[in-house]
Symmetry: C2
Subunit: 768 residues, 2 copies
């Protein structure tokens, strides 16, 4: 009997496809809107050109890295240390992440001038255009992500079921294909075994997405902040010209940066979290379904089903976001909140119903709910610490009166303090998800529940990302309005949208780090399952330990007796290997791994921060040079050389993204080879926990300095030009790389290191 | 047969006693030196008065905390949840730490004017006086520490051997004293069992020292930086008067701060590391000696013996530090290095000999050596990242040319980068110590080896602390010279000494954090042993698990059958309890604990940094008020109100040290009650690893800003008054609470949380 996927599974590819269709419709509607005056189109053109030029060069550089990793994976798969399709899955993950990023950014750059133009009519029309631009991004990320996963999942099942093993080269049983095929027709166990293999192979897709995300986040983060710092330090501080002034040579680079950093970077980040959480949960579910053969196979496909429904409800939510003409900003925010809340409530209700009719367990209903709650909570805390309507940011503005040093100190102190509630939220979420998913019975159920909570948190990503990507579009629209010399009223409207975007961006950032933490946890658990799979493959006896007892692979009508001779694996049995890799707390490799993991988080931040510093210094010199050499720029008689500034940011980003990226990719392998599996587990634990706190500190310190500055600029504490303002500007400049480069890049670091560990576990066991 | 301590053990109390005698001699020699002019004595008097007034108030506040904890421990001991002598050991640890701190500070304040006076004759005489002052501090810390431990160890053995159980109320066997006494005469095993009990009780001594250290570090750190920031921001920046100018109202407070922060704080910190590492190793050794009954009891007393020899060689090293008349600074440094190196080499040789004649194992020789090496290496890295003779600090000075924001960014980036080598050093040290101590055979041997490495690192603390405490004395001597209006040449000499002190201080700080990490690791392992002890006590069957098999306590001729009835303990057997507390990596309590541990490190820093900010703001206002209201201060016709500034720093320190201290004390207990033993283990792991990296980042960022400023002040990059200098001053101000409050306090946090976990493990098991 060929395993047939239950019909409910098709909700995943179907809604993903629908999502992409809708994105296309939105995009064609968007392009029908007017781009406004010729000047506006021209400026938007510069930004679009710069952004696309940057992305092309980035993809070229990343392409080389992908080619190298592909080659390594290919060789490994030939050596039997990786499944045969693994290199292609890796490419695929990177490719579709890049496509989403590219199209999302193209949309965003197209939307900005149109938003500014729509703002000429009314605030509401501006909102509609900007939000639609964001929605396209959201729909594409979830659409491409879930569709690819579904296609691969379906395809791999088809390949295995139809005995096309010379194509697939599965990890577990590549040596005795004949026996597999005889098992195909008879054994439910075979399907469970097969799903373990497939889901393990699929995790490489997440690695592709993760590597792409790292380059997008780090490169984009360096690009945007080098331009921002450069534009501010010379333009605003030295020459006293306003933000986004067309006379500032770095202003186009600054606007390009918003797109490559906040749109493409954030999109790739969440694309990776989205795919990673679904794939990790699938792998954990497959392992469970093999251990407990009475379990429904919905343990394996459940995450995809929930994600599918999540897309449907996200689409519904997006259509709900409509405002009456002349709505106040409060009403706008309210309208956005209705969209996201309805989506969230519907997915909770839906999972509740699936649990009620017995497709999912009631425990998983709790997990999805808690996942969504934790995401919302972390977002709320982020806002409370970074918005200038609350005490912490106002206090930073207060201390700015005493000078820059005290402003810096209070910002860092606020950032550090803001780690408390998110950690408590994550901890309580983990404990509840673990308990209700059945962790007391068997730890694996609990871990599966935690992983499912991540899927729940990200199930409504479609609409979450829409409200998030809308921010930079509004920001760019403001830039466009300023540079095109539109009336003050238009700039006020775009500013209102920008400010609305800042609120949703704060929530979005909390969401990104929260989901990264849960996804990394899920991936860590999947890593342990991967270790098991590879222990079976590389041990001398090919025994599988399930639930504490050992199964001979022959139990599954599969003969593995030939492995020893062909693969020259370890001479240890599975039992001995398990013992070697046994991890308790006082295992020194594990402890050392944690030390290294914490250190890598700090070192990685150091690299990204200093990269911004270096690129910004170059930018400052260039902008100063242009003002000095072309006297006509300041009075508007000469046009500054925008392209040169874009080039500096591009070069800085491309040059500096290599080393931190290799740090993230090579550390888990090196630690694996020196400190073995326990060391890797420590590394991942240390990087996750320390990186989480560090990321929140950097994000929130940066966010609160930014808003403290805006609070003073709004006329408080002496307003613009006061000493307090100068101190706040210094705080803001320090915060720029904190919140837009180092902090968000940490999200990826903690996920990528885990996924690299999974993909290279065979190498570590063989050579470690 | 009453257990008699081997004669070699007496080296510990003997050399500790010798050390104290020598300190007394040095002190009387010091007081014979001239205090210089009347003005100098007067100023030294102000500082001494302020420092002692502060310490008195601090001890009063801390006294209340000690009274509360004493009462709690007393009640617990009555409930059978703690040994009977435990509350007194706690008091004792705090008391002697306080005495060392008080006397050390009294010495330092006495030495400063005398150093300035001696500098009138020659640089060399100044060095002798300052170094002698530091030596007194070093000798007292190790002398009091080791002497107390020896006395308690001897006394407890005496009490147990002589059946005085109604005094001692041991943890393990308080219910059947009669059986104990019958065992006394017959059983070597009884001694081993007894030593487990004694060494567990003794760990409470370290808790007393640790609580005192926390208050000294946090309070002292807040005091000194509030004064420093206040003095600098108004005096140097606003009024343009030099450092240590007597017209600055905060200058006395600043000098007092150096004493209470750098001398008393650092002393209490290292007192705690010293005692903690010895006691933890003793406890681990006792546990090993029970598990492997063929092991020599030197496993238990070995750490004390090594510490005893360490003191002897430190004394020898101190006497070696002599310089020829007219020595250059390089020669002075060389002379200090000879002292420390000879001590280190001698202790290595000595342990080698002890291993050769079979008293210690060869593996422990490796451990001591590696411990010393790691300490030296971390110190070297610290210097490389913070001294202005190396690239990193010079680069920070370079970036200061672009403004304060880039200076801050490059400093933070440098601090983060500087975590790499210390972590690698610790990791390599752990792995080597683990391996050579026999960790492959039994993990417990490996952990014991790591712990012994900490003892090795701290064995020459006497001379290390001498070279360290010498810095603040020289710093204060400079202040005294400035305020007394001594000739420029004298100030130059004190500056030379100060700069020498800065080098040794950098090494000392690396030493402090390195030893804290290893000590915390040792204590964590001791915690696991404590858990075992309490499992025996509180389980229904009173079985002891040794080496994986269970022993009935009757094996040791001790009857524990009565425990159940009296103590109402759990109804679980030891086996069940061990299972409940079994900790693997995917245990969610453990993971959540790590998250909380990392967060607590950040939260703790946030609290201490903002405390400095608050107190400094008050100080700034007060200094401004004095300059405003008393016009005569600036022209020297009026004397500023020094006492008021001292009062503000004192109040700020006392007010703000309470909350972070309670965070450190209560978190392990709360986590234990909610997340049980695995949660606590996670907490300690997370706080240790993340706290270690955070502490190094803060220490080194602060240190490098400080020296970048000095580098510019030395005439580089535009010198004093340039824009680069202004930016560097802002960096330095940000760095002040980083390097002197938050960073060093983290040392204590990671140790204190571990020791609190040990002392309250009974409570956690009973009520958790």
């Amino acid at each position: 009997m060929v395993f047939s996927l239950p019909s409910l599974w098709y909700i995943a590819p179907a809604s993903a496809f629908l999502s992409l269709v809708l994105a296309l419709i939105f995009f064609s509607k968007l392009t029908q809107c007017s781009e406004g005056t010729e000047k506006m189109a021209e400026i938007a053109g510069y930004v679009k050109e710069g952004a696309i030029a940057y992305l092309k060069r980035q993809y070229k550089a990343v392409g080389i890295v992908f080619a190298i990793i592909f080659t390594i994976l290919f060789i490994l798969s030939r050596m039997g240390l990786q499944g045969g399709l693994v290199p292609f899955l890796f490419l695929s993950g990177g490719l579709w992440s890049a496509v989403s990023g590219y199209l999302g950014m193209k949309t965003a750059t197209n939307a900005s001038a149109r938003t500014a133009a729509a703002c000429q009519s009314s605030l509401n029309e501006g909102l509609q255009v900007a939000f639609r631009g964001g929605a396209i991004m959201g729909l594409m990320v979830v659409g491409f992500g879930l569709l690819d996963i579904s296609i691969w999942f379906f395809g791999l099942n088809f390949i295995y079921d139809n005995n096309l093993f010379n194509i697939a080269m599965p990890i577990l049983r590549d040596l005795d294909i004949s026996t597999w095929s005889s098992a195909v027709a008879t054994n439910d166990l075979f399907h469970r075994f097969k799903l373990v293999d497939i889901s393990n192979i699929l995790l490489t897709y997440a690695m592709g997405a993760s590597v792409m995300a790292l380059f997008a986040r780090v490169g984009g983060g360096i690009f945007t902040k080098a331009a921002d710092v450069g534009a501010d330090l010379v333009g605003k501080v030295e020459q006293n010209i306003p933000e986004d002034d067309p006379r500032n040579p770095a202003t186009i680079a600054d606007n390009v940066g918003d797109n490559v950093g906040d749109v493409a970077g954030m999109g790739a980040d969440l694309f990776e979290s989205y795919c990673g959480s679904i794939l990790a949960t699938t792998a954990l579910g497959a392992s469970l379904a093999l251990s407990y053969q009475e379990l429904s196979l919905y343990y394996v496909i459940g995450p995809m089903v929930v994600a599918g429904f999540g897309i449907l409800f996200s689409i519904l939510g997006i259509f709900l976001i409509r405002t009456k003409e002349g709505a106040t900003q409060q009403q706008l925010l309210h309208s956005l909140l209705i969209g996201t809340s309805v989506s969230s409530l519907l997915i909770i209700a839906c999972v509740g119903y699936l649990a009620y009719i017995g497709i999912l367990t009631p425990g998983l209903f709790v997990c999805v709910t808690i996942g969504l709650l934790v995401g919302i909570l972390i977002g709320q805390v982020t806002e409370r610490y970074t918005s200038d309507t609350f005490k912490p940011t106002q206090l930073i503005a207060e201390t700015a009166k005493e000078g820059p040093a005290t402003a810096i100190l209070s910002g860092i102190s606020t950032g550090m303090k803001s780690t408390a509630f998110p950690v408590i939220a994550i901890v309580v979420g983990i404990m509840i998800a673990f308990k209700y998913a059945g962790g007391m019975l068997d730890v694996s159920f609990g871990i599966y529940g935690i992983s499912f909570a991540a899927v729940g948190m990200l199930s409504t990503l479609g609409i979450q990302l829409a409200t998030d990507a809308f921010g930079p579009i509004a920001d760019n629209a403001g830039g466009n309005a300023e540079m095109s010399g539109l009336p003050k009223q238009v700039r006020e409207r775009t500013d209102a949208l920008d400010s609305l975007g800042n609120t949703t961006a704060a929530t979005g950032k909390g969401f990104a780090i929260g989901s990264a933490a849960l996804t990394a946890l899920a991936l860590m658990a999947a890593y342990l399952d991967s270790v098991k799979v590879w222990l079976v493959k590389l041990s001398s006896d090919g025994l599988l330990m399930v639930n504490g007892t050992y199964f001979n692979a022959q139990n599954f009508s599969v003969d593995v007796s030939g492995i020893t001779a062909v693969h020259d694996p370890k001479t240890l049995s599975t039992a001995q290997l398990v013992d070697v890799f046994n991890v308790t707390v006082i295992n020194p490799n594990f402890l050392c791994g944690i030390f290294i993991g914490a250190m890598v988080a700090f070192l990685f931040c150091s690299m990204t921060i200093s990269a911004v510093g270096a690129a910004a210094a170059e930018m400052v010199n260039e902008v100063r040079r242009q003002f000095r050499e072309f006297k006509g720029i300041l009075d508007g008689s000469e046009k500054p050389d925008y392209a040169e500034c874009v080039r500096i940011s591009t070069d800085g980003a491309l040059r500096s993204m290599i080393v931190p990226s290799f740090l993230a990719i090579l550390t888990p392998i090196a630690v694996g080879l020196f400190l073995s599996i326990p060391g890797v587990l420590g590394l991942l634990t240390g990087a996750l926990t320390c990186g989480f706190c560090l990321a929140i500190t950097l994000n929130n310190a940066g966010g609160s300095w930014d808003n403290a500055k805006k609070y003073i600029e709004a006329g408080n504490l002496g307003g613009k030009g006061s000493d307090a303002h100068k101190a706040a500007v210094i705080g803001d400049t320090v915060g720029d790389p904190f919140k837009d480069t180092a902090g968000p890049s940490l999200n990826i670091l903690i996920k990528l290191m885990t996924i690299v560990s999974i993909v290279f576990v065979g190498v570590v066991i063989q050579f470690g």
